[in-house]
């Protein structure tokens, strides 16, 4: 193997003084007098590195990383929209960062979370929200636990959840974590829920509810949405809305009005908080009034005297993590909502849909878009089945995009499309940037005809060439 990677550990010195320790201003007792020797550590295998070496190391690493600030980042179902800089400034105000979760004088923090909750209630058509869940999947788990608690409280035994085959993988995984087994529902030719099969499954009587993403991962809004929620309710089930794809419908239509009882929203998608290379996110969960007592601790209630926190209500699912949630993320999301206001949110949704349909219209002559009935439009995203000439596939196209200083769409998801490439441009991309993406995909298509080898061995201009995933999994090297 070529030795091209230099890890931070190689930049150390045997012993170097540390600049980040305050002066010791009391006479400290010798540790060996406090703790027995076998409980004391003799050495730590971490180097001492001068500050400037560390800065250089991470600046160099950052330059080997493609990010949203460099180009369109069209990952489907991830909603990679611009992260407003002001939110970073606001979230770093010391009145937010230097407050302790257990301090009593926290009125600003509670007010902020309460106001964010009220805004999300209005946007989603729900009655109460919890801010505690720390990511979308954490929200899903919370929501499904709320279903479990609801039926337990009523003394009704229901142990199954219906999840369509187009759903995010977290949906079945979250249901399993709440102790439910999964009924997978196959989408019909229009990419929508087959009503008869849904009713058939619900009739069995042991189904707690349905988890649905609408618009779904094909970017299609299910026209039968109210019929779907009616069927589930008719047989005593609850409807869970996966808010991963909320962006195109903000201010247009509300999940609560569609008949959903529980929803999570991904603040790091729809509400512009940075994804941070994988997190931290936040996945607040909203419910209709009758489910509000089941929300996790701490529940924040506004009363005339101020905010009251409840953490001893028997009906609650209990605690799902420590303290209040990813508060720093909540600040940024609320700032985004305040900046845009009602009109801005709607405009953002509309422009996201406009951008997606523009991309689709320009790419469709060359690229196949399945589940796409004539005359119908997509919402925020669409899925290409990337069978290019000469066996060039979705992975090859993705890698070729990286060579063109663009990021790739989500590939091989949803699972119902064989060579899936799921494209979500978001509203914050200009026509110029969309056109750059379109031209790149057209050029790649023609290259598949003339020189497929170049695509099958792409990328060629990234810091490393195509990496061997099989080797990584067969012989895991997970640390240095």
């Amino acid at each position: 193997m070529e030795k091209n990677v230099k890890l931070i550990f190689e930049k150390g010195f045997p012993e170097f003084s540390c600049n980040f320790v305050p002066k010791m201003d009391i006479q400290g007792e010798d540790l060996s007098k406090i703790l027995p020797n076998e409980m004391l550590r003799s050495e730590i295998d971490l180097p001492d590195i001068p500050e400037f070496e560390i800065v250089r190391h991470f600046v160099n690493l950052s330059e080997k990383n493609h990010s949203l600030d460099r180009s369109i980042y069209p990952l489907g179902s991830c909603t990679m929209k611009y992260n407003p800089r002001i939110n970073e400034v606001i979230a770093r105000l010391s009145g937010f960062t230097l407050i302790h979760p257990l301090q009593e004088e926290n009125e600003g923090a509670l007010e902020l979370m309460h106001n964010l909750g009220s805004s999300l209630c209005e946007i989603c058509g729900m009655d109460a929200f919890t801010m505690v869940p720390s990511a979308g999947a954490h929200g899903e788990l919370t929501g499904i636990l709320i279903m479990k608690k609801y039926f337990e409280t009523k003394g009704i035994k229901k142990d199954k959840i219906i999840v369509p085959d187009s759903a995010h993988g977290t949906n079945p995984a979250s249901s399993a974590m709440a102790g439910f087994s999964i009924i997978e529902l196959k989408s019909n030719e229009q990419g929508e829920i087959p009503l008869e099969e849904l009713e058939f499954a619900m009739k069995e009587g042991d189904v707690a509810g349905l988890m649905l993403t609408n618009p779904n991962t094909l970017g299609i809004f299910d026209r039968n949405i109210t019929k779907i929620t009616e069927i589930v309710h008719k047989y005593g089930g609850l409807c869970y809305y996966d808010g991963a794809n909320l962006n195109p419908i903000m201010g247009i239509v509300r999940p609560g009005d569609m008949g959903f009882d529980i929803i999570h929203v991904n603040l790091h998608k729809t509400f512009s908080t940075p994804h941070g290379g994988g997190g931290p996110g936040a996945g607040p969960v909203g419910v209709k009034e009758f489910l509000a007592p089941h929300l996790p601790f701490p529940q924040i209630v506004k009363e005339e005297s101020g905010f009251v926190c409840i953490d001893d209500n028997e009906a609650s699912v209990g605690r799902i993590r420590s303290f209040w949630g990813n508060f720093g993320v909540l600040i940024k999301a609320y700032s985004y909502i305040r900046a845009l206001g009602a009109d801005g949110l709607r405009h953002a949704a509309e422009m996201a849909v406009l951008n997606a349909n523009y991309l689709r219209s320009q790419l469709q002559p060359l690229y196949e878009v399945p589940y796409n009935s004539a005359g119908r439009f997509n919402m925020h995203e669409f899925v290409i089945d990337a069978h290019l000439p000469n066996g060039v596939n979705a992975e090859d196209v993705a890698k070729a995009l990286l060579d063109r200083n663009l990021y790739a769409p989500t590939i091989y998801f949803p699972l119902i499309v064989h060579q899936a490439m799921m494209v979500e441009p978001t509203e914050t991309e200009s026509k110029r940037e969309l056109d750059r993406f379109i031209e790149a995909l057209k050029e790649i298509y023609h290259l598949a005809e003339s020189n497929p080898e170049e695509l099958k061995t792409a990328p060629h201009r990234t810091p490393v060439g195509r990496l061997d995933n099989t080797l990584a999994a067969r012989k895991p090297i997970l640390k240095e």
Partner: protein, 442 residues
């Protein structure tokens, strides 16, 4: 204010290209009767107004000039370069590194974090982070039940109450039985049907237990059960024996102390480290080193994804997808900034300063130090009048210690005091004066 770059002309160009006349046509699949007129949300505002409004909100939270409160969230010094690295948008505006070749920077940073935590804890494998310490403990418990195919968990008294409650919620979800026990009850309770035993060390009351002895005892009773250690302030690893040396199977901790401000409790990160034999059951992402298919260069990729939900769906080891990646980055930068020298000095200062206050407090009539064992940077003390102590602290702009009735209603006048390297001698002396005053009858 919005962040959409289109002007009206661009909008009509896009509509024309699609072949429609209005935005409304794009929404034809949404039934008309469901569409809303306008949300009842205030109008948007400009950046200066936004900043002013949030400044006002932030000022409604009290900021203290000194703190003696910990209990799961800590005020440690944060080197300036930590936020500098976190603020580089090449990192924070990236998504999960699905396209490895264009994400080598973040992938390498995660690999370095995994390595750094493994070096610090001496555990074999570390994942790319969980949400927080509490959910990490809950996931560790689930791992234990998968591994042993047993369905009962023991929680040793002294675990942070919010962690216990979180574990109970997750276990209720998975139908796992949970029992809380005393440390002295291990002999009685560790039977063959136990999937895992969890203990916190240093425990919630700051006391340091001998992990190696606990591990030996449990393994003697049931060698298949998983031993899970949790921790709320891992800065102590600068001086105390690491979990990998004592034989625990899974180590979890809240990582906020590594370069993140308290931020009202989040975001921090859940540190999750295991013995290698549990790798295939581990939750969360992990990064591996590999090489090019058509070349010889090394590179990093997300690996062992067959455990994860996007492939295994309901059979996945966990549902976790988004984690706390950026916070993980700050933990890495913190650890390499401190280095072995800094980590040892910080831990020593926490230890000695807390010890100093504990011994001085002990001398004041009316105060009883309840921690019998050695303690790290927190200890439990029974006060003559906690409310008076807290009130006097606040008058001096000091954040008072934890009132333990918050978690244990019977512990009236019991306080959990935290001292870190950030507490100066002057602050400690002020606190002692306040304690003395609070002991006097009104």
């Amino acid at each position: 204010m919005d962040f959409v770059p289109h002007d009206n002309k661009e909008i009509s160009d896009l509509l024309n290209a699609i072949g429609i006349n209005s935005i409304g046509e794009l929404y034809q699949d949404i039934p008309q009767n469901l569409q809303v007129e306008k949300l009842n949300i205030p109008d948007g505002i400009s950046e200066p107004d936004l900043l002013a409004e949030f400044r006002r909100i932030s000022e409604k939270n009290k900021q203290y000039s000194a703190s003696f409160l910990g209990a799961g969230s800590y005020f440690h010094y944060i080197p300036s370069l930590v936020d500098f690295v976190m603020s580089r948008s090449q990192f924070y505006s990236a998504y999960t590194p699905y396209q490895a070749e264009a994400s080598q920077g973040f992938l390498q940073a995660i690999f370095e974090y995994q390595s750094a935590i493994s070096r610090l804890t001496e555990m074999d494998i570390t994942n790319a982070s969980m949400y927080d310490g509490a959910s990490a403990l809950a996931e560790a418990v689930i791992l234990a039940t998968f591994q042993t195919r047993k369905n009962k968990i023991l929680l040793v008294k002294g675990i942070h109450q919010e962690y216990i409650e979180t574990v109970k919620t997750y276990c209720w979800g998975r139908n796992i039985e949970v029992e809380e026990i005393e440390l002295e009850e291990l002999d009685l309770k560790v039977t063959t049907d136990i999937a895992g035993v969890c203990f916190q060390n240093p425990n919630f009351f700051g006391e340091i237990e001998n992990s190696a002895e606990i591990v030996t005892k449990i393994k003697r009773l049931n060698k298949k059960t998983l031993i899970i250690q949790c921790m709320t302030d891992p800065t102590c690893l600068g001086v105390i024996t690491p979990p990998g040396k004592t034989g625990v199977d899974v180590f979890v901790a809240e990582g906020q102390s590594f370069g993140l401000p308290p931020s009202f409790g989040g975001p921090g990160l859940g540190i999750f480290a295991i013995k290698e034999k549990y790798l295939r059951k581990m939750p969360g992402r992990v990064i591996g080193l590999t090489k090019e298919i058509n070349g010889d260069k090394e590179g990093f990729v997300l690996t062992l994804q067959a455990r994860e939900q996007h492939i295994r769906r309901e059979k996945a080891t966990s549902n976790i997808c988004s984690n706390q990646a950026l916070c993980m980055l700050s933990a890495l930068v913190y650890l390499v900034s401190m280095g072995k020298t800094g980590l040892k000095q910080i831990a020593t200062q926490n230890f000695q300063k807390a010890h100093f206050l504990k011994n001085q407090l002990r001398k004041i009539p009316g105060y009883e130090i309840l921690s019998q064992k050695p303690t790290y940077n927190e200890f439990e003390v029974k006060c003559p009048d906690f409310n008076k102590l807290a009130r006097l602290c606040k008058e001096k702009n000091i954040l008072p210690p934890l009132d333990l009735t918050k978690y244990y209603p019977d512990m009236k006048n019991h306080a959990l005091v935290c001292v870190t390297e950030q507490n100066t001698k002057e602050q400690i002396e002020t606190f002692l004066k306040i304690a003395e005053e609070a002991a006097q009858a009104n």
